[in-house]
């Protein structure tokens, strides 16, 4: 049953050219081998630290992360968690960023010098405790990540009507997660249409965010290449951590719990067989 209908299309051919606006399917993000992909894989904290640096120096000028506080960076499982270890050569106690292979006692985030320094480098606008008027002060570790705009209206007004979304749980809120963020950030192809930029990984193909990453814009202290792709990889890893900060703990606990349940199931099976011995069923 072929339904047949003819439609007369009268359109000036000149008008047709240049409309390559066809929505179509977004390109599938590249599957990058992140350390956290496997069921036992944790975060590469060096990468998460670099990603935080990229966020702080690039993304944070437009995107907030309302659900994160600076102290989160230095809590257990955070990228700047500090442990007190004993130096092998001098025997002196010293601070070690990240959990050492063995030993080391966790330093509470209130005593974490790195996180304090990160927080204090940020200017927070808050009510002055004496005058009640809005006033700037250095950040504290208990402060939430600084919001670049006071509200959504201000954010839209500063960004040509587009709203830079909150990034706290962005990897969970997008299909493809960190792979998508990474592909998107490194996937601009240079085409523009008014205020829109073409990006094959973005659903619809046209995104209001201009290419945010520029080669060499964020200096890395650890000698990692400062390419756009590397920035994208690192910042996506940071955002993955930000969205799921307890992942390492969850996976480790899961291993213990599942092993426990398998043992329990085995014992219960034996007990069940024992109870039913000699019973026909």
């Amino acid at each position: 049953m072929l339904r047949k209908f003819a439609i007369a299309a009268a359109a000036l051919s000149a008008a047709v050219v240049g409309v390559a606006f066809a929505a179509g399917e977004a390109e599938h993000p590249h599957d990058y081998p992140y350390s956290f992909d496997s069921p036992v894989g944790g975060y590469d904290m060096g990468q998460v630290q670099r990603g935080f640096q990229v966020y702080q120096q690039v993304c944070a000028s437009c995107h907030g992360m309302d659900h994160l506080a600076y102290r989160h960076l230095g809590e257990r499982g955070g990228p700047f968690a500090v442990y007190r270890v004993t130096n092998h050569e001098t025997g002196e106690p010293e601070l070690h960023v990240g959990q050492p292979a063995h030993g080391g006692t966790f330093v509470e985030v209130t005593d974490n010098p790195y996180v304090r320094a990160i927080a204090e480098a940020v200017i927070i606008t808050d009510a002055d405790p004496n005058s009640g008027q809005p006033a700037d002060r250095p950040g504290r570790i208990s402060d939430r990540f600084r919001s670049p705009f006071p509200n959504e209206i201000a954010a839209r007004a500063s960004n040509g009507g587009a709203y830079p979304v909150d990034l706290s749980v962005i990897t969970l809120a997008r299909h493809g997660g960190a792979d998508y963020i990474r592909s998107l950030l490194a996937g601009y192809d240079g085409q523009t249409e008014g205020v829109l930029h073409h990006n094959p990984y973005f659903p619809g193909g046209w995104i209001a965010m201009p290419p945010p990453l520029v080669e060499g814009a964020v200096p890395y202290a650890d000698g990692t290449a400062t390419t756009v792709e590397q920035y994208a990889t690192d910042v996506a890893a940071f955002l993955q951590w930000a969205g799921d900060p307890h992942m390492e703990q969850r996976k480790k606990t899961g291993l213990v719990v599942l092993a426990f349940l398998i043992v329990l199931a085995g014992l219960l099976y034996l007990a069940y067989k024992q109870v039913w011995r000699g019973e026909s069923h």
């Binding site: 049953m1 072929l2 339904r3 047949k4 209908f5 003819a6 439609i7 007369a8 299309a9 009268a10 359109a11 000036l12 051919s13 000149a14 047709v16 050219v17 409309v19 066809a22 179509g24 069921p39 309302d66 659900h67 994160l68 989160h72 979304v165 909150d166 706290s168 749980v169 969970l172 809120a173 997008r174 299909h175 659903p203 969205g243 900060p245 307890h246 703990q249 969850r250 996976k251 606990t253 899961g254 291993l255 719990v257 599942l258 349940l261 398998i262 329990l264 199931a265 219960l268 099976y269 007990a271 069940y272 109870v275 039913w276 019973e279 026909s280 069923h281």
Partner: protein, 529 residues
């Protein structure tokens, strides 16, 4: 089944208590001495898992309520705070979310088991109906709970489902506003949904008590469907059934754990990590997986039936698909309980299971998606060279436009022009164009989808852009079989199974030979083995 109590208090205190509150006797008679058919298989262990699921949901839910804030500005953030900052919040929240899915997984298996072994048949009709009530309460509770994180799916799911109520004739809109506490989903809705979501699990627990009471009154069904006739047919509930239930439950917990620890978000939807936004609908709204079959039935009705429009029709079909379960004990006319001895019914049952799963698949798909691949063709006709002639068209009034346009086109064709077409630019004005002379050309394009065809046409036009100002495009749209069509077929079978197949088959079929007692086939089997 219950018979006289065999409990004998042994100590002075229990004798004293037994005279005043025989609670130990009740527990002993219900969960220790209670005679259980000895031939129950693993499908009978899901009742225990469901009790566990209810307990887990209530306990984790009470904990969540200690930290959750039912406010439109705080709800999303309070869940995030719970997962990030509260001790073990990262564990308890996924247990509650995954727990809902596990609860429904177990209840579906439990229900299919009841269907297969005829556990709804006399004298267990009330037991079955109580189970249906529990299921209905679970659906409502699950829906209310999904609203609470106040993500995009929460918000728009609540919008869509409350709109369903608006389909009810006359009072629908009033009910809708009453449920929402306003014209749209907002703070009043969230607050009352939270309150009801907290209340309903305890109502479920109450109905579960009735369900177990009814079970213990009529006794458990068993894979043969044959009534228990003597003590030889049964074993005491503890330790025999309890131990088996515990073992099966530990396996269930392993599956539960794999989801909680390694795929906590696999059963949810990414969009629910976007805070609710009343100004923007997500590109696709799908309910949680356990409601997808009903969602497919809702969407399957895309046609009006007499005075019933498609929206109301879908709502009726969806509610009917649950309502039919309540009357099932009187729809199935077979005198044999277990489908083990009903070879034809068993085939229909297996198809029914596949249909339910397929309905679930349909519920998660774009309704316009093609099931059977189709080829869309189009032929482009144009004229190479020639001269374009343009003439204004003016009709007497708005109503006379079609006639005037047809006349103008006819006049041009009469002059030997090709590719004649009119463009309307106002109520009664427009332009008629045609090409005089030139060489007629044509080309065909094809694509596997309607959008693809349009793209191919655009491409073809660009290719010949310079040569031809006008195209006549003939599109051949093939007959298609979409997800909606499939849902319609599956929905038809769903109702056919309950309303036609089970009533008729019970009267017509010749069942297999049913054993006389439970113990008999069991003993012969054991001897044979």
């Amino acid at each position: 089944m219950s018979g006289p109590s065999t409990y004998e208090p042994k100590t002075g205190f229990t004798r004293w208590l037994d005279k005043r509150l025989p609670i130990i006797r009740l527990g002993y008679d219900s969960f220790v001495a209670y005679p259980t058919p000895r031939n129950l298989n693993y499908w009978w262990t899901f009742g225990a898992m469901l009790s566990l699921c209810l307990a887990v949901q209530i306990i984790t839910g009470i904990v969540l309520a200690m930290h959750y804030i039912p406010h439109v500005d705080e709800a999303f953030a309070s869940v995030q705070r719970f997962k990030r900052d509260v001790s073990f919040g990262w564990l308890i929240q996924p247990i509650h979310a995954v727990g809902a899915s596990m609860f429904f997984l177990a209840v579906y298996i439990h229900m299919f088991r009841g269907l297969y072994y005829g556990s709804y048949k006399a004298p267990r009709e009330v037991l079955w109906i109580l189970g249906c009530i529990i299921y209905l309460l679970m659906v409502v509770t699950g829906f209310l709970g999904y609203t609470l994180p106040w993500g995009q799916m929460s918000f728009w799911g609540a919008t869509v489902i409350t709109n369903i109520l608006g389909a009810v004739p006359l009072v629908g809109e009033s009910i809708q506003v009453w449920i929402r506490g306003g014209g749209a989903i907002d703070q009043p809705t969230l607050n009352r949904f939270f309150s009801l979501h907290y209340l309903l699990p305890f109502v479920i627990a109450g109905v579960v008590v009735l369900h177990i009471w009814a079970l213990h009154e009529s006794g458990q069904n068993n894979p043969t469907g044959v009534d228990v006739k003597s003590k030889a047919d049964t074993v005491p509930f503890s330790p025999h059934a309890t131990m088996k239930d515990l073992f099966a439950t530990s396996l269930f917990l392993i599956l539960f754990g794999v989801f909680v620890f390694y795929m906590p978000d696999a059963l949810g939807h990414a969009d629910n990590y976007i805070p609710a936004n009343a100004l923007q609908t997500p590109p696709e709204i799908v309910p949680e997986w356990y409601l997808l079959p009903f969602y497919a039935i809702l969407r399957a009705v895309d046609f009006n039936v007499g005075p019933i429009d498609s929206k109301l029709g879908g709502v009726i079909a969806m509610f009917a698909s649950i309502a039919v379960l309540f009357v099932l004990p009187w729809l199935d006319t077979s005198r044999v309980r277990s489908m083990r001895y009903r070879p034809i019914a068993r085939q229909f049952f297996l198809i029914f299971v596949v249909v339910c799963i397929a309905l679930g698949w349909c519920g998660g798909q774009n309704p316009g998606r093609l099931i059977v691949p189709a080829t869309y063709n189009a032929t482009l006709n144009w004229v190479q060279g020639g001269e374009v002639v343009e003439q204004p068209v003016q009709s007497a009034g708005e109503a006379g436009w079609d006639e005037a346009a047809a006349e103008a086109e006819e006049a041009m064709r009469a002059q030997g022009m090709t590719l004649v077409a009119t463009t309307r630019t106002g109520a009664s004005v427009g332009t008629v164009r045609g090409v005089r002379g030139g060489a007629p050309q044509s080309a065909s394009v094809s694509a596997p989808s309607s959008d693809g065809l349009e793209e191919a046409i655009t491409e073809a036009k660009e290719e010949h852009a310079a040569a031809a100002p006008y195209y006549m495009v003939e599109r051949n749209i093939p007959g298609t079989f979409t997800v909606t069509n499939l849902s319609q077929v599956l929905t038809a079978y769903y109702f056919l199974f309950f309303l036609i197949i089970l009533p008729l088959l019970g009267l017509r079929e010749t069942p297999g030979r049913v054993p006389e007692t439970i113990a008999k086939p069991v003993t012969t089997q054991t001897e044979g083995a």
